[in-house]
């Protein structure tokens, strides 16, 4: 089933936001839709999006490469993205990332053995007063978790594991 058929209501809602002759603007929200539903954006999805808004597959691919929230390869179902920029790092973000990865037995950028969690260091997320913090990118969109500790994070991951098994 095509993207437009599978998510008809959402695609229609996205296209309605922009002037009819400016359909290309819809490419970003359509990429978000695919990223959220599939966990990454593959070549087939790029072709579909390109056809929907009237641009080439290359035009779409260059956006996937340019913007950090679109991923062209699968990873963990949930991407746990830890801010390690200057203000967060002044409040222990680097140590937080290192300890979290140690607790999970992975390197930064790596994925847990069950395929649920990928931990990635990222740039500033506009939450500098509540470090250490991270966002979780997954099928439900993006959610912030602030003033975190490694223990609290491991609890959150356990809860997500239970949820995933259901």
């Amino acid at each position: 089933m095509s993207l437009a058929e599978k998510h008809a209501a959402e695609v229609k809602k996205i296209l309605a936001k922009y002037p009819p002759e400016q359909k290309q603007s819809a490419v970003m929200p359509l990429l978000h839709l695919v990223q959220r539903k599939n966990g990454h954006v593959d070549r087939h999805a790029m072709q579909e999006i390109a056809a929907l808004v009237g641009i080439t597959e290359t035009d779409v691919a260059e956006l996937v490469g340019f913007y950090t929230l679109y991923h062209d390869a699968p990873a963990g179902k949930l991407r746990l993205q830890v801010c390690v920029d200057l203000p967060c790092a002044l409040r222990g973000a680097d140590q937080f990332l290192a300890q979290l990865c140690e607790s999970l037995g992975i390197e930064p950028g790596g994925t847990t053995a069950d395929g649920l969690i990928t931990v990635e260091p990222v740039m500033c997320l506009a939450a500098c007063d509540r470090a250490p913090m991270f966002q979780v990118q997954g099928p439900d969109g993006i959610a912030y978790h602030e003033n975190m500790t490694v223990d609290k994070t491991m609890e959150l991951i356990e809860a997500k594991r239970k949820e995933a098994k259901k």
Binding site: A26, P29, F66, D85, L86, L90, V122, M123, D129
Partner: protein
């Protein structure tokens, strides 16, 4: 004093439409649409002295008056890309005081004759975008958006639009490219957005905090607004305070309070009472200010901060104490700008790349003094040569850090 932008601090339920309306909500938009000509709104905002709160500090009313009235339609775009390390004020405004922000968008739209406005939000603000979509729907239901507003023929729609993780999209022409569905790379300017903006049409791009000031300026007047702040910098500013302070957070203050007041009175001072070393007044884009008594007693307004050789920018004050060395600080800022460089112009793309390699060598302990000199030289050569401000920003902490904190670098290269 009660808050003007962060009004939710005094009225916690202000994100409820009824509560907002009971507290004069949408009175300003109604007053503008039903009783003022667009040009009168522009003149009032000009007279208030309101300047852009995103970093550049350009007078808002003057920007609006540049709109090309021979080319239609017009657009308003709210810049909610908030990605500068150290900046987290627009997020709080949108989460807690959404209607005042949306009313600001509506007033700006009326003033420049726009019937459609887009809110360009950084992609990470997923939840905030869903929240604003709800608030926009409530406004439509209450006939505060749509056709024939307040019985006139004025019509307005507001749409949210999510970016997808790119600092450069805070630059207004890169933002417009991104909103058009392209890579967020800055355009060659001129032409500026008021003559050639979204879809090639005249467009005003204003920061979230700037827009949120508008409703109270309309209802209370330009003279009232000018009683706040300084002659050069009218009104209030939301200062995002972060780094090695006890109480980081947003603080709304009139322009002209000192760094000492912000850091020690509002922020509670430095963690563990350690000595303060440096201040970055405009996030990662800042010059590193040596935090001596002169700097701490400098008023925080556009002109005064400039006397320190720095800029107030978006007023994202990052505080640095003696637990870290400055070569570590610039390692962080360089990595940020290297990652965020859009790659369009050579000085920025290549310059940030080489700065990163050199600073990594220095940090690894295998650097020599010539590496510090080379780093300084690369940064200096980038200045005044980049297509947009990002390239320039990447050099600020590097140049000022090496100039003002030379000892840290000597120590870093003496380790081996």
């Amino acid at each position: 004093m009660s808050h003007i932008v962060l009004r939710h601090r005094d009225l916690p339920e202000i994100s409820n439409l009824e509560v907002y309306q009971k507290n004069d909500g949408f009175a300003a938009f109604k007053q503008a649409v039903s009783r003022m000509k667009a040009v009168e709104v522009i003149d009032l905002v000009k007279a208030s002295g309101l300047r852009g709160r995103g970093g550049a500090g350009f007078p808002t009313g003057v920007k609006w008056s540049f709109m090309d009235n021979n080319n239609w339609p017009h657009y308003v775009v709210a810049n909610a890309d908030e990605s500068e390390p150290g900046t987290f004020k627009d997020r709080e405004i949108m989460e807690r005081n959404p209607f005042q922000f949306l009313e600001g968008v509506a007033i700006a739209s009326y003033a420049v004759g726009a019937n459609a406005a887009y809110i360009y939000m950084r992609g990470e603000f997923w939840q905030q975008a869903a929240f604003l979509d709800e608030k926009i729907a409530e406004m439509e239901k209450a006939s505060l958006l749509g056709e024939n507003l307040f019985g006139t023929d004025y019509a307005l729609r507001i749409y949210t639009h999510l970016g997808a993780g790119a600092y450069i999209c805070g630059e207004e022409t890169a933002l417009l490219e991104s909103l058009e569905g392209k890579r967020g790379q800055p355009r060659l300017r001129p032409p500026f957005p008021p003559s050639y903006g979204l879809y090639g049409k005249p467009t005003v791009v204003n920061n979230v905090e700037t827009l949120t000031n508008l409703p109270l300026i309309i209802t209370r007047g330009a003279d009232w607004y000018k009683t706040l702040g300084t002659i050069d910098s009218a009104g209030v500013k939301v200062f995002s305070l972060s780094g090695r302070v006890k109480n980081p957070g947003n603080y709304e203050l009139p322009f002209g309070r000192t760094f000492r007041q912000l850091i020690y009175e509002q922020g509670g001072g430095i963690i563990d009472e350690r000595p303060i070393r440096a201040i970055m007044a405009a996030g990662a884009s800042s010059t590193l200010i040596v935090a001596d008594d002169k700097a701490l007693d400098t008023p925080m307004d556009y002109a005064s901060v400039r006397t320190l050789g720095a800029d107030l920018g978006s007023a994202s004050v990052i505080v640095i104490d003696d637990t870290v060395s400055i070569d570590w600080v610039i390692d962080k800022t360089i990595h940020f700008f290297k990652h965020e460089s859009c790659g369009k112009c050579t000085p920025c793309r290549e310059g940030t790349y080489w700065m990163q390699h050199i600073v990594e060598r220095i940090r690894s302990g295998s650097g020599v003094q010539a590496d510090v000199d080379l780093l300084y030289s690369v940064a200096k050569q980038m200045q005044n040569k980049c297509l947009c401000a990002l390239g320039e920003f990447s050099t600020m902490a590097v140049v000022s850090g090496i100039e003002s904190f030379d000892k840290d670098f000597k120590k870093a290269v003496g380790k081996k």
